[in-house]
Amino acid sequence: MISTTPVGFQLINLFAAILLLLAFAMLAQRRVVSLIDLFVAQGFVLALSTAVVAYTTNQPHLYQSTALTLVLKVALLPWILHRLVRKLDVRWEFEGLINIPTTMLIGIVLVVFSFNLALPISQLASTVTRSTLGIALASIMLSFLMMITRRKAIPQVIGFLSMENGLFFAATSATYGMPMVVELGVALDVLVGMLILGVFFFQIREQFDSLDLAHFENVRDQPPR
């Protein structure tokens, strides 16, 4: 089953490294528009690496996953996000809860933790991509960190979507992708979730005149209705 070329193998590792770098870049990025661009880049690298895995290991169903990733994560979701940013007019994001250098340091700790956690599983895996499982877990953890440290609604959502990218990468590297019906279902959930959030953003905006979630903390202190 394993008939991989060294080039393909190297490429997959390269893409995995780029994904990790992108996850860190997202962690450090404060501008919302650039954050969406980084998300596009992440989706694109993910699609490329899935295609390489599909080619080198001869797994035709992974081409469908590649197409799904391209349509959903490189085209559709960023388009919706850009539209939202334009309509809601939120270009800038200021300080998060923790400053960026500290966040990066926590990120490094998370990466070490993920590699350790993934080690026993990687050793069991028979896939050529097993060494990238640690990276997949690390990007999930980094997106998680991004969601925790950001205060505004849209970066939190981008963190959520990039976590989904990490999960997808984990599925490809550990098992050559989930069964197609599951992948389609997950994609549908992500898309519907994004649409619902689009509606939801306008509701928040209507109520608070901003998408800054710091407003939320004040709500509890007001006398209830």
């Binding site: 069991l124 028979s126 877990l137 998680f144 599951v182 519907v192 979730g193 109520q207 939320f216 709500v219």
Partner: protein, 483 residues
């Protein structure tokens, strides 16, 4: 097989119809009628399974066994009664100007879609589809929680979305790991994610991967169950949504999420030496019971009070499944049933009580029994039932859990007893003045829909006194399955 299709198709058809007609005056009736049809289909399915035994259908993609069939019936029943309740409740909300007709359309359509996702999660044989359905259940309820568009409800919905989204992402990672372990034994493809297939090879699954997968699945679905310390979203979401939504979240969604956890536990039990899964469930369960009981003391909002009580009861059920064995599992299943019925009845009553007095703050709700005896009695009986007073069913299940705990895990019994005592004191002291006491509030613009409340409470009372033999057989069969 046709019954499975019907159970799943009726809510979808209902949701589509209500998406188009949900703002008409008769929409609430369509909603209730859809609920009734779903219930009838579920009864037909149940009858089929009782007559012919467990069922695998549509290319093994759907599974009906004693464990999920009673949950399907319960979900359909509570879904129907909630739709009946929401007919009266939402009319009053609309007359008070809290929702517009457009939002009622959204409400009705999302309510039926939510029913569909839960039934799908219960019936599917595929771990991946279970995940998809659970995530879809979150998505459909986000807009229901924020239906009133108040700042507090938007915050609650956001918290709900983000926390459950993150939680459920952990569950997806767990599912990937499970697939990874199963694929080695069963080969790649859809078959490796079917409960039935996994069940048959569970002893051959790689223990390290499986234990890691279980931790991720437990954390993921445990977030939706509201297990402490993953419970933060739950009180907000329950308190800020409309009462029918609180009722289905607490009465049904928590059960479905717990169902997912227990299914995973069944797999892990067969594969791992020792009591890995049991200990985790016992720990999470006990922590939830104790923490929730003390948080109950601090609550001021009636719906938040009962939301914390849901965490406490989910903790009891998780603890019971953690102990395992025929009696504790039986008690856990019974407790799932009676908690679901009682808690939804309480949320119905609390909704009407809040409508009558115009507030959720318990200090301002007084004298329910004078302004509306029926609501007052509903709350009094509901509270007594949830507190585990005999002869209600909650007493029977809690008694079974406690006696088994004394034998199997004696160290845990004092914690459980103390937590139940604290919970009792907290709820009783807060509910009593709301029912009696002086008041000057006016009547409601429409009649309260209290029939579902008394149907639920009557069922809980019946389960406390006499469990019908077929139901007892199910519980026993399901308890054997859980092991």
């Amino acid at each position: 097989m046709i019954e499975i299709v019907l159970v799943l198709a009726v809510p979808v058809v209902g949701a589509t119809t209500l998406g188009a007609l949900g703002d008409r005056p008769y929409a609430a009736t369509i909603n209730a009628a859809t609920g009734l049809c779903t219930l009838l289909a579920a009864i037909a399915l149940t009858a089929h399974v009782v007559a012919h035994g467990p069922l695998l259908a549509l290319g093994d993609q759907f599974l009906v066994d004693p464990f999920n069939v009673f949950l399907v019936a319960l979900t359909a029943l509570v879904g129907f009664t909630t739709a009946v309740f929401s007919r009266g409740y939402m009319t009053i909300e609309e007359q008070r100007g809290r929702v517009t007709l457009g939002r009622l359309r959204l409400y009705h359509a999302m309510f039926q879609l939510f029913m569909f996702t839960m039934l799908l999660a219960l019936l599917t044989n595929n771990v991946g589809i279970l995940w998809v359905a659970m995530e879809a259940a979150t998505l459909t309820t986000v807009l229901l929680v924020s239906l009133y568009r108040t700042p507090a409800s938007l915050e609650a919905a956001w918290k709900y979305f983000i926390l459950c989204g993150v939680g459920i992402a952990q569950a997806l990672f767990g599912t990937i790991l499970l697939y990874f372990a199963a694929e080695k034994v069963l080969g790649a493809g859809g078959g490796a994610l079917l409960w039935t297939k996994l069940q048959s090879v569970r002893a051959g699954l790689e223990p390290t991967v499986l234990s890691l997968a279980f931790v991720f699945l437990l954390v993921g679905y445990g977030t939706k169950v509201g297990l402490v310390p993953l419970h933060n979203w739950l009180p907000d979401a329950h308190a800020e949504g409309p009462s029918p939504v609180s009722a289905v979240l607490s009465g049904l969604l928590l059960n479905v999420a717990l169902y997912a956890v227990v299914r995973c536990k069944i797999l892990v039990d067969g594969a791992l030496p020792g009591a890995f899964a049991q200990n985790l469930l016992i720990g999470f369960g006990l922590l939830s019971v104790v923490v929730a009981a003390f948080l109950l003391l601090r609550q001021k909002d009636i719906k938040r009070l009962f939301a914390y009580s849901s965490i406490e009861h989910m903790g009891i059920v998780t603890f019971a499944f953690g102990i395992g064995g025929p009696i504790a599992n039986f008690a856990g299943l019974l407790h799932m049933t009676v908690h679901s019925l009682t808690k939804s009845a309480i949320f119905f009553t609390a909704g009407h009580a809040a409508q009558k007095t115009g507030t959720h703050i318990m200090d301002d709700i007084r004298g329910l029994i004078t302004i509306s005896p029926i609501v007052g009695w509903g709350l009094a009986l509901g509270a007594l039932a949830i507190l585990g007073m005999p002869p209600f069913g909650v007493f029977a299940s809690e008694f079974l859990v406690l006696t088994t705990a004394m034998r199997e895990q004696p160290w845990a019994t004092p914690f459980l007893l103390a937590a139940l005592g604290v919970g009792f004191a907290a709820i009783f002291s807060k509910v009593q003045p709301m029912i009696f006491g002086e008041t000057t509030d006016a009547r409601l613009p429409a009649r309260p829909a209290m029939l579902p409340v008394f149907i639920h409470l009557a069922l809980v009372l019946m389960l406390g006194l006499w469990i019908p033999p077929f139901l007892a057989d199910w519980y026993r069969a399901a308890a054997r399955l859980i092991g």
